[in-house]
Symmetry: C2
Subunit: 434 residues, 2 copies
């Protein structure tokens, strides 16, 4: 990998998401060599992927080049690669571009879509964890509409205009809301020949509440907002199978749909070589102690979605969201530095800053620790928190300008089919190349 | 294609570039049915593709959704398709989504890269005529740098950092300038481990002048600017072959390079079925009379790059650029309306508004009919003309903001490898999917 061996200890961080980035930033300009490996050359701001998928933002606006972030940092190395295997015995990782030894390994590999072992769904449904995947969804939505225009069979046309989103978490809710806004303001103008009433947006939630991690009030209000926007919300319904044509559920209702977006769950993105004993079977997350140290390993840490830090309050580990990842990453960096100086490490205590979701124009729900509110003000809060959290001044300005424009004009203009998806080979190459 | 047959004559326009768009806009809300077919669902502002390729702009900023442009227009139909064949006998076109008859056919199919029959070059070099192609170039540049980092063989590393741009027209000059700015301000920061002196930007021109269509003064100054930026300009040199590793020329100098960008020429993008007699063998453009009517056909017109309208002043037809395309498109629309009303059609007279090219920060050359100037002021003129020409208010604002940011910060931040190109399968899928 062509990284010099120095007298400084080498901290190898796998993954440039929220957690990995927080660790790397926290270790800047210390007496350490920091190596960051990611399969993309950019950090993805996942909370806004749904806006790329629905034509509200351009891809580069929500991503940030990882190299740029560390331009001025000494002893920092970035490598574009996928990690294939960890060998804790020899303190070595194997990657697509060679192997590298480490003194301290930080697993910040995040999460991947959990299809719960249903191979058909993995094959035929869309996921939205990366920029290319979001662009694939954008392409598919628009390509389906182009195809619907040509379809004389009413059933087939309806299937092309039928969108099934599985999973009522923030991703599913925000995507359903954004699609509903496209249905309202944009698609009828773009496709005046289509009967837009045939477009259906179905949001399917296996449990009894949308946004299960938030308050009852937020959940209820989000459902109201979605219904007002014309989304069909299905609760207590479970998707069992999808063959590319029909969604089979455990209820009376099956859905004939060309587009299924699977946002029903995530699981830890583990890497081969980590002690199997430390991995939680169900969530595929790596068990860690209160210092983020992987159970059963001495110099391997895990932070963010992939880490499962159980305690009395979080019996299944912390929620797989940005905030725990950032907080764990920051603390781990400090702890590594403390350790280096012979000082004591600090235990992780999660500070819940609240959570929020947007459903559409002027419609959001916000749960703060001491205050819960919904509606227009919540929407503005959502916007500014997300703007503020984006990395990079350019991104902030460009996203802000796009939002102002979209708000004033009731529009979402970035409707390019950049990665033609369906027409070429729906289920092969492009799903890999993500 | 599911387009209703009405009592209005049907004008079928193939291609939503500058020419096709001008025709379609000129025919808005007339007693005509207008059908526009394009293989992309967006109009591409080709003059700024090089900025997408070099990380200065995001893809959606220089493109505009075609459907949106005609949202409020009666009797307008857009279809996303490729036209395979024209049958002038039956007034019918065959496309990838079915066939359609026409009363008036407008060929606005533009141009494609001319490889002058050199199959190796077609296979191994990059072209830049579309947004996906520009993103492929962006990916390749960055992927080559990532690879160079790992390469211990000096010759191979140099080849990865050696960029050969063939063709000294505006595309080649602007791309070479932008690459040189990346070399200066961005790549050394992103890749501090690489010796940036090993990065070479070679601009190869077969003739004696860069920007051959412009004044001697502009040509000279552009060359000076490029040299000042560190570009190696090769004149009177012709590229004969490229096997993916070495560029063979007709001179003493061959180049070992992993990246060859072919901007050495374009040819008309004809469609099968147009009378072969009317097609100019060398340029592959369709011969038209002064009303843009295709020679040998009654109700077929051609405008823009694909049209070859010869007269005393333009013995080989008009230059293949935006201005003649827009002017021909506008006039053709007016002529079609005049014809409908029984009025006389007007002959085309090209009004040369001048031409310009930018080389880099504060460096541009402008030839106006009565005034030629170069440098900072030319650069501002270039910027405002291009901003003004972009379609869409959002695009104008977003491009302007990006330019202000890039100018102040000496940066180009959109350095995402969105379409991983090289690592996956360099010469297969992604080159098709453009």
């Amino acid at each position: 990998m062509n990284i010099p061996q120095t007298s400084y200890p080498r901290v190898l961080i796998i993954g440039g998401g929220f957690a990995g980035l927080a660790v790397a930033r926290g270790l800047e300009n210390q007496e350490l060599q920091v190596v960051l490996i990611d399969k993309h050359n950019y950090h993805t701001f996942q909370p806004l992927l749904y806006q790329v998928a629905t034509g509200g933002l351009e891809p580069d606006s929500i991503a940030f080049p990882l190299r740029k972030r560390f331009n001025d940092v000494e002893n920092f190395y970035f490598r574009l690669a996928e990690v294939l295997k960890v060998d804790p015995e020899t303190c070595n990782v194997e990657t697509t571009i060679g192997s590298l030894n480490y003194d301290i390994l930080v697993m910040a590999t995040g999460s991947k879509t959990n299809f719960f072992g249903i191979q058909n769904i993995e094959k035929y449904s869309m996921e939205m964890k990366s920029v290319p995947q979001a662009l694939n969804i954008r392409s598919l939505i628009l390509e389906n509409f182009e195809e619907a225009l040509l379809e004389s069979d009413l059933e087939k046309r309806r299937a092309l205009m039928n969108f099934v989103i599985v999973g009522g978490g923030p991703t599913g809710v925000e995507l359903a809301g954004a699609l509903a806004e496209m249905k309202k303001g944009i698609l009828p103008k773009d496709y005046p020949d289509l009967d837009i009433r045939q477009m259906k947006i179905n949001l399917i939630q296996s449990g009894n509440n949308l946004l299960a991690g938030m308050s009852k009030k937020a959940s209820k209000k989000a459902e109201d907002f979605l219904k007002k926007l014309g989304v069909d919300v299905w609760k207590d319904l479970r998707v069992l199978d999808y063959d590319g044509g029909t969604v089979i559920t455990n209820g009376e209702d099956n859905f004939r749909a060309e587009t299924v977006i699977w946002a029903a769950g995530v699981k830890g993105a583990c890497i081969e070589g980590i002690s199997v004993d430390s991995i939680d079977v169900k969530s595929n997350r790596i068990g860690v102690d209160e210092f983020s140290k992987v159970l059963g390993h001495e110099n391997i840490y895990a932070v963010g979605d992939v880490a499962c830090m159980k305690n009395d309050k979080f019996k299944k580990g912390h929620p797989m969201m940005a905030q725990p990842a950032i907080q764990q990453g920051k603390l781990l960096a400090n702890n590594i530095i403390s350790d280096l100086r012979g000082e004591l490490q600090k235990s992780f205590v999660y500070i819940d800053k609240g959570s929020m979701a947007t459903i559409g124009r002027n419609k959001a729900v916000v749960d703060l620790p001491k205050l819960k509110f919904q509606g227009v003000f919540a929407w503005f809060v959502w916007m500014f928190v997300h703007l503020f959290s984006l990395i990079g001044f350019r991104n902030k300005v460009i996203v802000f300008m796009n939002w102002v424009y979209n708000y004033i004009r009731f529009d979402r203009e970035t409707r390019l089919i950049i990665r033609p998806f369906k027409r070429k080979n729906k289920y092969s190459f492009d799903k890999q190349n993500v």
